[in-house]
Each structure stands twice: as structure tokens, then as C-alpha cells.
């Protein structure tokens, strides 16, 4: 084949490649002729399956931690005691099939719900495991036909048709210890379960309250015997008297204790964590207390019949059968699905973050918090969100640290390698001194000494700088060695021999050949910087709570309880950290193999 023909052929095949015409198999020699060294590197890298899979994994992690925090901002002060240590899963509102269509009543607990069927059978679903031994799913036997249930934060009350009261679940604060004087009372009208406490209202307007009186200082006083219904949250109790007056039933003053006086006669009351609400005779809603965000929106409603309170939202039934919800919407608890209002809803049950609308056929339509994909931690914060935000922090710190270290490394290594002699000697001795500093003790000491005097942002910057300043000697040595090797190569001599200036030699011959090595080293260094940051944060010397990083997420997992019971709190951050560092390392290895021309010879 003549050379001209060959050229034509290769041109044709370039076109073929461009237009996806891959029918004709090129011989590898022809293929090779189409390749610049850069393309060969890319081709080698792409051909490396392990590296490519790692790259994809890393990109997914990288993009997630980049995009997720940008879309979902984190509230660093967020804490939710009712959602602590929730296991991963989406079954919080998964109404059992046997119950569906036969619902008599549902009561919503913090992470679980209790329902009773028309046949009086009790069902518990959701995250029912309270501690390693206590599970609210362990329903007491021989309760008979249950007519009423009430779910609290960690316990359940049930009332059967004989007027007998049952309680199970966590009883550390005596919330399950039914008072002796109540056991004889048979005219219980309504039972209530709150945060570590329980209450019952009798037909004759009496209220019995038991449980953790340390949290709620219950005081009924003059209203005993007049109460129609009550509402409980984690701090207090509101009561509605039979003549429509809303009263606070706690001894101490609370945010929602000051009940508006102009309200008139109320027919229903509800509580969220910080506010109270009442529906008046004329179908209007009044909200008082610590009114945050959109919690007062319901005040414009008309024709309200009844109201239910969640943790930070309300739901109300209107006279026309519509269901309205307002308040916080973090978990979609205020977003009533459209099918609710299409169906014929009879009752709405709301609590915490979950809502159940019961239709006339006894079926439940649910909205709100289904669960957490990766569970929550000991402050009730979503682990997924913290992993994403923490990942961004960890990667940012790693990246900036590696940029600092690589920049110093390139400058010092480059100068050292290119000029040699005394400069080289001095710089390399400095590098050795820095290399000899024991990293962890040094970083810990430094962080401990000045870490407390500065604010959070400065601390983070400090960690980046410490990481960067202590890890450059490796890069410097690498660059120096590479520059030395390149400088002595024949093609550099050749460039000098044709009269290329020193600048040209440095930029055209030495740097391009050093860059690949730097990229590989920076990639590997990135992984180790991330690990080091995590190590520091894990030990408490890096980024501190509540700002998440992968390292300090693991910080809370030093106790055996967490490791054994709340595995999701350490498994997921570990997986994220491990997966990223391993994939970065594999990418780095892949790059090294792709760059190394010797790997191409085989």
C-alpha cells in the first residue's frame, strides 16, 4: 500500500469514527496512527475497567455532594428529640393490610403509629423499636376488644370496650404505669399519650395525668371535672372545657399558655411543639404561641370543623369534608395529596410528621414523613443529609489542602530539580524537616492550642492549611525527581542543541512530562487528605459538631451502643468515606498506568 493511500485511509476512518460508522474494524496499527499521546492516555484509562468503574462511582459521589447541599440547605441548629436514632427505612406510615379498609382509629406516635380495627384488634407499625429490648410492637395479649388507642413518643395506651386501660412500651418515666385510682374508673372518654406522659379524660370531665412530671408540670386545679378534651405536646397540656373555654393545664408559663381571649367559644384544640390552636364555633382557627414560618396560615380558613396538631403543622377538617394542612413542610407533612380531597374523608389523624386521612370505606390515605433513607442520628438529624453536607466539607478540605500542598510541592520540587546544586540541597533539607514532623500529634497540638481561639470558618481554614503545609514534601520530592529525570533526557539536550531558550525547555519539555505525575500524585493525595481530615475530625480536632464532615459523623459512634444498635450512624458515613477514597485511589492507579508508557508496550 502506498503511503498516500494509507493517509487517505486514515482520514476516511477518522470521518468514520466521527459519524459513528464503526462497521469496518481497524487494525490496531491504523488505530494507533490516529492517536496523540494524550488520546492514548485517555484510551488506556477508559480501557481500564476498574479505574472507569471507580471514576463513575466517584463522579456519582462527587456530584451528589455537590448538588444535594446546593439544593437542600442544612440548618446547623436543627435538632429533633422525637426523631432520635431512627433506623433507615420507609415504613413509618405503612398501614398493615389487615387494618386497611377496616380502620376504626389511628394514633400517631413519634416514629410509629398505632391503629385499631373495627374488630378491636390493635396494630402497630413504623419504627417500633424503642431500645434494644423495648419494642412497641409487643402488644399485650388478652386486651379484648380495643376501642381506643393513643401513641406517644415511645409508648402506647389502649382502651377496650370494658373500659380497661392498657399501656406498653417505654416506661422509664412511668408513662405506662396506670395510676391505681384510674383502674377503677370505667367511664374513660378519651386517652392521650404524649412525650413520656399519658393522660385520660373521663366522661365526667376529670383528667388523669401520669408519666414524666418533670417535663410537664401538670396542674388542673379548678377545671377538674369540666374538661371535654385535652391536647398534649412535649412541654405542656391544653384543655378544652365543656363550655368551650381553652385553658392551659400546666403550672408554668409556656409559649402557648397565653390563650387569646377574644377567641370566643372553641370546639376543638390542638398543639404543635411551639403553638396552640383552637377551632371556634364559627369555624375559624386561632393560632397562638411561638408562631414561626407558616404556622399561622390556617387563621384565614373558614368553616373548620376540627383540628389536629403535628410536631410543627396542623391539619384541619372543613365542613365541606376537605382536609387542609399548614405549617412546616420539611417532610411533606403539610402537603395534602390531592386524592385526599377527592375521596370522602371522615377523619384525619395527625401527629408528629405523619397524617392519616380515613375515608368512609375505612381506608387510610397517608402523607408526611415515611421514614429516613439512611436513618437519623442521636439528635434526630437525617444521616443522608449530613453525609451529603459532610462530604462536601470533607472534599472541599481535601481539595484545598491538596491544592496547597501540590502548589508548594511543584514550586519547591521544580526549583530544586531544575537548578540543583546548593538550592536543591537547602530545599530538600527543609522538605526533610517537614517530612519528619509527626503529622497527627502536630496537627492535634496546633488545633488544640489555637483551635479554641478562633471561629468555625477559621478553624476549617486552619485545618486545610495544616494539611497542605505538612504534606507537600512528598510532592516536592516527586516533582524534583521527575524534573531531574526529564532534564537529563536526550530530547532536552536536543532542544538545547537546536537553540531553544531555557523558558521553552521548561514549558514545552519539562512541565508537560511532569504534569501527568503531579496529577496522579494529587489524585492519590486527595484521598489521603480526605482520610486525614476525617481522622482529625473523628478525634475531635478537626471540624466540630454541628457542622458535619464524614470524620465527625463517625465521632458519635465511639460507644458500643451506637455501634451495635444504631449501625446506620457509622456504616453509611464509613461507606461514603471508604468508597470515595478507594475509588479515588483506584482512579489514581488507573491514571498512573495510563500515563506510564511502559504499560503500553505489552
Amino acid at each position: 500500500m502506498s503511503k498516500e493511500n494509507k493517509a487517505k485511509k486514515s482520514r476516511v476512518s477518522i470521518l468514520g469514527l466521527l459519524f459513528g460508522n464503526r462497521k469496518k474494524q481497524l487494525s490496531f496499527l491504523e488505530e494507533e496512527q490516529l492517536q496523540s499521546p494524550m488520546r492514548t492516555v485517555i484510551k488506556n484509562f477508559v480501557a481500564n475497567k476498574v479505574a472507569m468503574v471507580s471514576l463513575i462511582i466517584f463522579l456519582i459521589i462527587f456530584l451528589s455532594v455537590l448538588i444535594y447541599p446546593a439544593v437542600n440547605h442544612i440548618d446547623l441548629t436543627y435538632q429533633e428529640q422525637t426523631q432520635q436514632n431512627v433506623a433507615p427505612g420507609f415504613n413509618m406510615m405503612k398501614v398493615p393490610k389487615k387494618l386497611q379498609g377496616n380502620i376504626k382509629e389511628i394514633s400517631v406516635g413519634s416514629t410509629f403509629s398505632v391503629g385499631v380495627s373495627n374488630d378491636g384488634e390493635v396494630f402497630v407499625w413504623g419504627k417500633t423499636k424503642i431500645t434494644s429490648v423495648i419494642d412497641v410492637k409487643d402488644i399485650p395479649e388478652n386486651m379484648g376488644k380495643v376501642v381506643q388507642v393513643a401513641a406517644g413518643a415511645d409508648h402506647v395506651l389502649a382502651l377496650n370496650d370494658q373500659g380497661e386501660l392498657f399501656a406498653w412500651g417505654n416506661s422509664r418515666n412511668k408513662q405506662c404505669a396506670i395510676p391505681e385510682n384510674l383502674k377503677t374508673v370505667k367511664n374513660i372518654k378519651r386517652i392521650y399519650s404524649g412525650f413520656q406522659c399519658s393522660a385520660a379524660v373521663t366522661e365526667d370531665g376529670n383528667v388523669y395525668f401520669w408519666g414524666n412530671t418533670g417535663i410537664i408540670d401538670f396542674k388542673i386545679g379548678e377545671y377538674q371535672g369540666q374538661i371535654d378534651k385535652i391536647a398534649i405536646n412535649s412541654q405542656g397540656v391544653l384543655g378544652l372545657t365543656k363550655d368551650g373555654q381553652v385553658v392551659s393545664l400546666t403550672a408554668n408559663e409556656l409559649a402557648f399558655s397565653r390563650i387569646p381571649e377574644e377567641m370566643g367559644k372553641a370546639v376543638d384544640i390542638a398543639l404543635t411543639a411551639q403553638t396552640g390552636a383552637a377551632v371556634t364555633e364559627d369555624g375559624k382557627v386561632y393560632v397562638w404561641g411561638n408562631k414561626t414560618k407558616t404556622i399561622h396560615e390556617g387563621e384565614t380558613l373558614e368553616g373548620v370543623v376540627s383540628i389536629e396538631g403535628g410536631r410543627y403543622h396542623y391539619t384541619a377538617m372543613l365542613a365541606n369534608g376537605d382536609v387542609v394542612a399548614w405549617g412546616h413542610d420539611d417532610f411533606g407533612q403539610s402537603s395534602v395529596p390531592s386524592k385526599v380531597n377527592k375521596a370522602n374523608v371522615t377523619t384525619v389523624y395527625t401527629g408528629y410528621y405523619q397524617n392519616y386521612a380515613i375515608t368512609d370505606s375505612g381506608k387510610a390515605i397517608t402523607w408526611g414523613l415515611k421514614g429516613y433513607i439512611l436513618g437519623t442520628d442521636n439528635y434526630g438529624r437525617d444521616v443522608l443529609s449530613r453525609i451529603m453536607h459532610g462530604g462536601r466539607m470533607t472534599m472541599t478540605i481535601g481539595a484545598i489542602a491538596i491544592i496547597i500542598s501540590v502548589t508548594i510541592g511543584i514550586i519547591i520540587g521544580g526549583v530544586s530539580g531544575y537548578f540543583g546544586g546548593k538550592v536543591d540541597m537547602i530545599l530538600m533539607r527543609i522538605a526533610e524537616i517537614v517530612y519528619a514532623l509527626p503529622f497527627l500529634p502536630f496537627a492535634m497540638t496546633l488545633s488544640a492550642i489555637i483551635g479554641n481561639k478562633i471561629n468555625e470558618t477559621q478553624r476549617i481554614a486552619l485545618i486545610m492549611v495544616i494539611l497542605g503545609l505538612l504534606s507537600w514534601p512528598g510532592d516536592a520530592r516527586l516533582v524534583r525527581a521527575q524534573v531531574l529525570a526529564e532534564r537529563n533526557k536526550e530530547f532536552v539536550t536536543a532542544a538545547r542543541a537546536v537553540g531553544v531558550r531555557q523558558k521553552g525547555i521548561i514549558f514545552r519539555h519539562i512541565i508537560p512530562n511532569v504534569v501527568s505525575v503531579i496529577i496522579v500524585s494529587a489524585t492519590l493525595g486527595f484521598a489521603s487528605a480526605m482520610l486525614t481530615e476525617s481522622g482529625l475530625s473523628f478525634l475531635g480536632f478537626g471540624v466540630r459538631e454541628p457542622r458535619p464532615t464524614w470524620g465527625n459523623m463517625l465521632n458519635g459512634c465511639q460507644s458500643s451502643t451506637v455501634i451495635l444498635q444504631y449501625w446506620w450512624r457509622w456504616v453509611f458515613p464509613s461507606i461514603a468515606l471508604g468508597l470515595s477514597t478507594i475509588s479515588i485511589n483506584l482512579i489514581g492507579d488507573g491514571l498512573r498506568d495510563a500515563v506510564d508508557p511502559k504499560a503500553n508496550e505489552r
Binding site: K3, E4, A7, E32, Q33, Q35, S36, P37, M38, T40, K489, E490, F491, T493, A494, A495, R496, A497, V498, G499, V500, R501, G504, R508, H509, P512, N513, P597
Partner: protein, 522 residues
Amino acid sequence: MENKKKDKKVLLRISNLKQYFPIKKTSMFQKEQLYVKANDGISIDIYEGETFGLVGESGCGKSTFGRTLLQLYKQTDGRTMYYGRPLDEIAPRYMEDTLKHLSTKMKNYETHQAKADLLQSEYDKLTTDEEKYNMHAKVKEAKKIANDAFLDIVQVIGGFFIEKDLQKVSNTFLKEYQDNVAWCIAKEELRKLESEFEAAVAEKKAKKASQSDIDAATAKIKAKVEAKRNDVKAKQATFEASKKEIDAMRAAYKGNAEFEKYESYRDEGVDLARLTEEETRRLRKDLQLIFQDPYSSLNPRMSVGQIIGEGLNAHKVFHKNKDKMQDYIMQVMEDCGLASYMIHRYPHQFSGGQRQRIGIARSLALKPKFVVCDEAVSALDVSIQSQIINLLLDLKEKENLTYLFISHDLSVIKYISDRIGVMYLGNMVELATTEDLFAAPMHPYTEALLSAIPTTDVENKTEPILIEGDIPSPIKPPKGCKFHTRCKYCTDICKKVVPDLEEMTPGHFVACHHKRNVVESK
């Protein structure tokens, strides 16, 4: 090396070239700095248009010599005079230095000369051979230093060496020198402008603009070129004038025998060793190198076009005229047996022989006058070697090149060279025309080397003359004649006195105390 062939023009005159590489001290307490004496006083003339073959075993310093010659290493000592360009085209800075400090230099020379004379007289008083042997090197060294100081001066000012009023000489010459520099700078600027103008015209032409359009668009730059041209002419006139002034001064000494004697030392060559880095860089255009290893000598990240074009860019040969450069590179590639369509390919896509052609193209693109071929065919396969040799010979003929062909392969050297120098441990031991050397080698080493080459001749398989032992280390070479440890003719003098390279028959030099023995034994 005073003998000059009248009919041939010397291109390079290397005298007493030394290249020592310091060795890193092995311990802090090592006082003496050791050197690898890669080249230990080499003197040769290379004539224009010839191929000078340099042969020797590994470690003899032949590659170092080639590279030192091109000033790729800073030479330790010696003069490397280059005659490829008139002195006033380069106007080296060291001339200015000499002219400015003429009187100090003169004093310096006088003290050195006095020292040398003293040593010589001491040497002459010595009676025993033993003492003379020991003293010999010292006297030689002192003489050399004095001579260097002397040459530094007379090569620049020539006969005015005898002039009493050095200040006047200094001033007149300095003026001439400065005018010369100004002229050179103007010329270079003009060249760049012309190239720019040409590029501008070509660009317009490519767009099929009419002649009047072209004229209009390039009028500005054309005016610049014209202005520069006049400037160059003016500068040249000034320079010529100051030159005439010196000629007038010279005329005053007409007939003065002493003046004429010193005037003959005046050298129109450029001492490469004393040029500044930038001057050397500019001269690299003339002096090129072809490497042994076609793999490591090409940057794997540059395409063939970039590799060949690098030198052109560095010297701004096609200043701002990319198209013309590309055409030129393709032309060079064709000349070197590479298809021009390969211009965008990368080195790894070529075979060894083709890569060597790229290396050759890179060197020859600059239109050099002198090329060092450093083992240019040694790394190639047998069947490729001859292709490259043929190419080198063709190009030499076409471009009127001068080669310094370095190889350990005597058959190749014999085939390609006009004259051959044989090196051993940093010294030239024998130098002769190819026919002379092969017909009658005078140095025992040459003799052994020639007979050691395995030949494909079946009929007269001669038993090779084996030389015992290994090549000594160039760090601590043997005293006296460096070959004496392996030489069968070795006598006492060989162990003590370094033999000089002497001309035995016209054009046949040998450095051996016993060269006659060799001739007789043959």
C-alpha cells in the same frame, strides 16, 4: 597543529580542549575533588566539507567531545575557534571585555610569561631523565597558561600588541566593536520585519485579495521595513568607517616585521567557549547534533511538525509566518525520506529508522554548517543502518555539510569518513586520513583496534591482535601515556611522560613515544 592545509578552509580549530566532570564527594572528609577526565587536551582542525570520523571504545570521551564542541557542556579549558561565519556577524561580547581591560590583560600575560620562562630555565638545568619527566608536565602547564593569555589579546588586536598607547588602541577598537553590534541588531530586526511583511502578504493572497488591497493592507509594515532597511544601511556605513580608521592605524605599521608577526595571530574565528549563553544559542543554528538513540531524543508529547519546527521557532526563522514554516518543514521531511503527510504524527507511531530520520530532519531544518553525528546509526537495526548512512551522505552532498561522525564501529567510520581520529581515554592518539590510517596505523592501540573488528571476510581470517586488560578508569587515568598499561611496546618513558600528538608523515599525527617501532614491526 600548526600545519594547515592550504587548499582547505578550516571550519573548526579545537586546541587543547579539556572537559572534566566533577564527581560528587563520597564523604564530608574527602578533601580532593575528583574529576572524570572525559577529554584531556584534544587538538584538531576540522575542514569545511569533510567528514571527520572519531572512533574509540566506550568511555573514551568521544561523545563528550562532540557535545563539548557544540558547547552543550561548558568546556573546562581550551579554545574552540569557529570559522563558519565572519566575526563581524556575531560580534561576541568577550571581545568587548578584552578591549576594555586591555592593559590589565597585558600585565596578566606578562606575569604568566615570566613564570613560564622561569620554570623553563629550571627545567633546562635538570640533568637526569627522571627529574625531567617529573618536571615536564609543570613546565608545559605554565607555558600553556601564558600562551592562552597571549592569544586572548593578539587574537583580537593583532599587531597592535606592540603598540605602547594601549588606551588609544582600546578606544578605537571599542568604537568599531560597538558600531558592529549596533549593525548586527539592526540587521536582525530587519530580518524579522521582512518575514512579518512576507507573512502579511501571503495571508492576503490566500484570501484572494487583489494586488491593490494587498498593497493597502501592508503599506504600514512595508514602510517600517523600508525605514529599517535605511537604518541598517546607515549603521553599516558607520561600522565601515570605524573599520577604515583601524586600517589607517594599521597602515602606519606597514613593513614593521614585528607588527606583521603579531598581526598574523589575529583570528577571524569565534571562540565558542567564551561566548555568552545567548550568543551560543544563536550560533546553534550552525552547529547541530544527531543523537544515537532515536527513542529518547524525541519528546513523546510533541508531533513531528512541532519537533522539527522547534529550532525554527527558537531562531525565529519564519517570524510570524506559520504557513511558510509548515511548507518548509514538509520539504525537510521529504528530503529526509519521510512522507510529509506524517507531520502531525507522534514519535511513537514511527519505527526506529523513521525516528532517526526525524532527528536528522530536526537538525538539518536549521541549515547548519557543521553536524555532529553521535553514534547516529549504532542503535539501528543492521538493515536500517545503511539507509541512514546513505541519507546522511546524500544530505551532506546536497547541503555542503561538515560532519563529525562519532562511532565505535570502525567499518562505518571507515566507509563514511575522510579523516579519522582515534581516541583513547580522553586523548586523541592517532589522526590521519582514512587511507593512511587503515594502510599503516602507527599507534599500537589503533593497530589492535583495527584487527579486533570482526569481518565478514572468509578467506583471510586473521588472528586478531589481542590487547590485554580493560580500559582504565578515566577518574584516575594512568600517568604518562594512558595506553601504557595495555601496550606491549611499553617502556619507561611511556609510564612518565605524556606523548604529544606529532605529525609523522604529512597529515598523519600520532601520540606515541614508539610510533616508529610500530611502523617497523609491520
